[in-house]
Amino acid sequence: MAWEYSEKTKILFMNAVHGKPGTHLGEIENPDGIGEHGSIACGDAMRFTFRVERHPDDPSKDVITEARYLTFGCTSAIAASEALCTIIETGRYTPLEALKVSNEDIVHFLEGLPSQKVHCSVMGAEALEAAVFNWAQKRGVDLKAHGFEVPTHDENEGRIVCHCFTQTEPYIKRKIAELNLRTIPQITDAIKAGGACMACHHQPGGLQDLLDEVWGKNSDGEDRATGTQTDPNQPAPELSPYQFAKQVEKVLDDYVRPMLARDGGDVEIIDIKGQLVYVRLAGACGSCPGAATTLKLVVEKTLKAQVDERVRVIAV
């Protein structure tokens, strides 16, 4: 797919490549903060540097006055880098405030990014974060004391599996193991991966393959789709299938058929699979459209009460 960029993205990109005044391409010598993110191997890399106006007493009150980037990447990566520098400079943020600039802010500034390109904005945010950590080290600012967590993992490099949420193979695999995720819906709930276009679910190298790699191919195939849900096809342990069927027949005879007979109707059991009971209305009731729904509810309620709480009735 060719990408559909916003006008803003295209303009920022063209201005940057033509080195128009006001653009931020470059690298600051002896910067106060330097951060890198990405690698040439994964197709996007950014070096972000900034200079601060130092506060005489409290380094945490330094203000960023100048931000520059060198970016290896596509149109949107360069535009996102421009956006980041512009946001930081015009906001006159302290580095600590700058940490709150997120990839969503960058996307917003760019007036949107194609979903497959959202990772470019993430790269900007990550490089900024790294640069602030670097500044904090140099200036002796304790980030933890200011309520920021210093990450210990760096899994932003690697093959992107979920393009919608820019999640990489190493990250997803670690989360699968850490959070004991066993199914694709569990992954999506925990870390969003696979939650939008769903294309990565069953692609080669997709989420199912990562699950198989972490847990083994045949860990429990039947657990895959619905997780811990009990299998409705398993018969009740107390009753054999024969006893179960006999009892369903008996309850229908005793409770349901007399009721239907008053209107000239009857009920036919088509099949019983585990606790699933398939029934069809016969006789006069069969032609009444409302009857089918009512029947299902009545029969199900009766069987649940008289035979087994787990019974489900399916109208055929």
């Binding site: 559909e4 294309a199 199912q208 045949n218 585990g274």
Partner: protein
């Protein structure tokens, strides 16, 4: 001699609007939609719009649920083999005895390779017994693949109900339908009435787009591995550069079908008119699936004691195009598997004819065919050893006489 084309279940004439819509993409806009430059992006935008049009036409909630293939056969294989690959722990498949060879042969091959396949039978009107279907569902069932409309007889299967029963039994069982004959003739609403269907295949050339383009609806999240690997196209679900001109053509065909959906009532009227006249004027014919719900355009009937090819040949002399059984099975000398599954009397199964109409047919055409047919049949019966020409009925010593004369 002007042509009367009544073989629209085999293929359809390409709508002039479709040709016009495609033309720019065969000439000026030849670019690869994956390329970066502006003209290619225009092609990518057109592709995106076409996908949205086709998705809307079948009621899909998201355009990316539609992927384009080279034909319906590829769409069927993509869905069936992909579902199997994504569900390695299950081995049971349910289909019917009357599927198109694109599904039937694949399922037979899977059975040869260790899969457990249930081939559901049909009754004399080509209908499934839903009770048989329910009983066939097993804890190991991974896939149901049942066609929407039969290509030979036009008989419709209640796929909404079958899909509902499947999902109520076990949401993990995948439901595929080959809707090649129904898309364009009947409304399909995958977000509404058909919401329990996971995969739906269809083809352009049955709905006035050219041959060489098919489509597969794949519900978001339905487990399915790709069939054609080797490309990022179609979200990695089908490698290969998109066939842009034909995709544009298919989208235009969908637009037209949507605008002309009401005309299907007129198609049904013409089909019924033809059916009534033939039944009135030719003794001892059997309309296939007469008592079943059918497509509006299809009339399949069998003529006792004569052979279909002899009728086709004479019709062709009159410029009338029709089929005997499925065009796909005509290469073999076996009578149609569909009609045999319906237990059409053996005296009639060789004498089957299929007329399939489209919105381009007229009442005059239908009347012309109705006028020709009695003579076409009479010419062959005249030669038949089982026919009494003086009384214009079967000879009493003809096989199955009692049944035929008794039931007709």
């Amino acid at each position: 001699m002007t042509l009367i084309y009544l073989d629209n279940n085999a293929t359809t004439p390409i709508a002039p609007e479709v040709v016009r819509a495609m033309e720019p993409y065969l000439t000026a806009h030849y670019f690869n939609p994956s390329s970066m430059y502006e003209p290619a992006q225009q092609v990518a935008t057109a592709l995106k719009e076409a996908r949205a049009t086709v998705a809307t036409f079948v009621g899909a909630s998201h355009p990316d649920e539609l992927l384009f293939t080279s034909c319906a056969t590829e769409a069927n294989s993509t869905a069936i083999l992909g579902a199997i690959k994504a569900n390695p722990n299950r081995r049971h498949i349910i289909t019917t005895e009357v599927e198109h060879p694109a599904v039937l042969e694949l399922c037979r091959d899977l059975a040869r390779n260790g899969y457990d396949v249930t081939f559901l039978p049909v009754d004399r009107n080509g209908r499934l017994d839903v009770r048989d279907f329910v009983r066939a569902l097993q804890p190991t069932t991974l896939l149901v693949t049942i066609m929407h409309a039969n290509n030979e007889t036009g008989v419709l299967f209640p796929i909404e109900e079958l899909a509902r029963l499947t999902k109520e039994t076990d949401p993990r069982i995948l439901f595929h339908t080959d809707a090649t004959q129904s898309v364009g003739k009947l409304p399909i609403d995958l977000g509404g009435a058909h919401k329990d269907i996971d995969f739906l295949s269809f083809s352009g050339h049955k709905m006035h787009a050219p041959k060489g383009i098919g489509a597969l609806y794949m519900r978001r999240g339905a487990p399915c591995r790709p069939f054609l690997l080797g490309g990022h196209q179609e979200n990695g679900r089908r490698g290969g550069t998109e066939n842009v001109p034909y995709i544009i053509g298919l989208a235009e065909a969908c637009r037209l079908a949507s605008a002309h959906m009401a005309d299907e009532g007129e198609v049904a009227r013409l089909r019924d008119r033809l059916e009534q006249r033939l039944k009135a004027e030719i003794p001892h014919i059997v309309v296939s699936g007469e008592e079943a719900p059918r497509l509006p355009n299809t009339l399949n009937f069998s003529v006792h004691f004569i052979e279909g090819e002899g009728m086709l040949y004479q019709l062709s002399e009159h410029g009338v195009c029709a089929s005997s059984g499925s065009a796909c099975t005509s290469g073999s000398l076996e009578p149609s598997h569909v009609l045999r599954a319906m237990k059409i009397p053996f005296t009639a199964v060789h004498g089957s004819i299929r007329f399939s109409l489209s919105r381009y047919n007229t009442e005059e055409e239908v009347d012309q065919v109705a006028a020709i047919m009695p003579e076409v049949v009479a010419n062959l019966r005249h030669l038949s050893p089982y026919w009494d020409n003086a009384r214009n009925c079967p000879r009493p010593d003809a096989p199955g006489y009692a049944e035929i004369v008794g039931t007709n």
